[in-house]
Symmetry: C2
Subunit: 331 residues, 2 copies
């Protein structure tokens, strides 16, 4: 692991040297693409090992309701990544007109399928379907996204058993910080956005890493002043270039979860992708930052695969990989 | 409700005038004893109404393992308060040597008992018993302390169904703030201590009230500086007079959850009770503070009774009382 981190750090330094020669501040780019690739290589070896010792191939069941273009893209990317590490994946696609009972039945089938170790219900679901009811139907030990009550509660509680899986984007943020040796214990972390999928669980994970966490949201006052206190900023608000360079403490670390399309006539597609943080401004101030794209996105998918491998291990009685922070103490 | 709050505010003002004539700063004492009394009166009326309309008496099952003196005291106080509002209470007492299976069996019996609407397992349990396993056995719709996975997760998640009950001390802190009209939305709240019983759930509740919450703990650095940013401070660390007056922002509100015995030769008992906040110093700076005792303690018990009445209402199909903040939007 240490050797691997060393390699990655060297790679990250190269990236800085190659791509940011114009930057005055020596900012470190937290390369999610390279880190995710390293994780996929590790997972590939684990999958091969489980197959060898237990004759079991980890299986991911993906349930997609409707045909939202972004959801189709995400599902395709997840399936491709699963395939790369040797995880078998099975798709269930229902029309947008499917009833709640149809979706519940599809989840129940995946729960009962011995070839499936992790179930992913691609969100958002059509508005006539009660999302919390569907997520609650997923068996906690096949909950590839860590969204069911039991895994959510185990994440926020101290002591007691560990979650069987943790939400993938939050886990990806923290894994990236840890692989780049960014200190968290005792440090101030500010999370922007309190969604169930990113903001709230990443706050819980950072707290489990002994950070002092402040969670900001749409009702928060004086957000720039609060961000200025942070050693680590996690931006997950979905507003293009919302966090300005002047908001950031010199030397801070920024994890940008946002991925927003903004009009750009100079691009062939007519748009470009930007994060929730103004990258050029932030790069002048902070010591480390994730790029968009190529930061949190690839890490999210790697953590999904990691969850599936872990759930498979648990199903055959193998020890699961340790979780970050104090969660590592849980069994 | 508004008239009742008005009466309580008048009462609180009287308390200030009567008891704190020597204070220079016009601090408001958040009188938990008087507020809890008002809540018990409300609950008494609700219990009478449920009996009249549905012929059902709310029932609280209290499970005590061992004979810790503090636990015996707490259980007695809770039973007395339940009795006062017309809640039937039933005690199950097991010896400290009881096995985990004995305790699980006792919980299962209470789960199955139609006379019992809320179950309280007095913590801490003897160290040979897995606390999380016992709490997880309590049926979520009889979970008087709001400690089971389902209720914990429903508290921290946005949207989806509301928790059937919320942890009593956190609910007591927030109820007290709300009855004294202390604004929370957009304000900075700092919670000291991250226990499962107080710190973590009160942070979640304050966030549901749209406060911007920072959770400090034993690994946090520069705690006084963080506390100085807070409009509302919740102290739950169990260290006598830990928070000094110099840490507090002028005009802040302090909720002191601590109750610590410190040696005092001038007292007949040889000790006096103090909170986690240096009351005399804090009173010179803040605009409102809870006394210790007579602050959060009585509120905790009132919230337990409120949970039992709510669980009873749910069991007969009556609407439950709304929860604070954004939880009020949940159904």
């Amino acid at each position: 692991m240490l050797a691997r981190v060393g390699t990655m750090r060297a790679r990250a330094r190269f990236y800085v040297a190659a791509a940011l020669t114009t930057a005055i501040n020596a900012v470190q780019i937290l390369d999610g693409r390279a880190t995710a690739k390293a994780i996929r290589a590790e997972l590939g070896a684990e999958v091969a090992s489980i197959q060898k010792t237990h004759g079991v191939t980890p299986g991911l069941g993906v349930l997609l309701v409707g045909d939202r273009r972004d959801s189709l893209t995400y599902v395709r990317m997840k399936r491709k990544a699963a395939d790369e590490v040797g995880i078998f994946s099975s798709d269930v696609t229902l029309p947008a007109s499917a009833s709640e009972d149809d979706v519940l039945e599809a989840v129940s089938k995946l729960n009962a399928d011995p070839q499936i170790h992790g179930i992913l219900v691609q969100l958002p679901l059509p508005s006539h379907i009660d999302e919390s009811r569907i997520l609650e139907t997923i068996s906690p030990n096949k909950d590839a996204d860590g969204f069911c009550y039991e895994n959510v509660a185990r994440l926020v509680l101290r002591g007691g058993p560990r979650p069987l899986a943790t939400a993938c984007t939050p886990a990806g943020c923290v894994e990236l910080l840890q692989r780049y040796d960014i200190p968290l214990a005792g440090k101030r972390a500010v999370v922007l956005g309190r969604s169930n999928v990113v903001g709230a669980p990443v706050a819980a994970l950072l707290q489990q890493c002994d950070a002092t966490v402040t969670l900001c949201h749409s009702a928060s006052e004086n957000v720039p002043d609060i961000v200025r206190e942070a050693d680590v900023v996690i931006a997950a608000v979905g507003k293009p270039e919302y966090v300005r360079g002047s908001w950031l403490k010199p030397g801070a670390t920024v994890i940008d979860v946002g991925i927003n399309a903004v009009d750009d006539a100079t691009k062939k597609a007519g748009y470009r992708l930007v994060g929730d943080v103004h990258f050029d401004e932030a790069s002048q101030v902070v010591s480390a930052i994730t790029p968009v794209p190529g930061g949190v996105g690839p890490m999210t998918i790697a953590m999904l695969l990691s969850n599936v491998v872990n759930l498979t291990k648990a199903s055959v009685g193998l020890p699961m990989a340790p979780l970050p922070g104090r969660l590592a103490d849980k069994v």
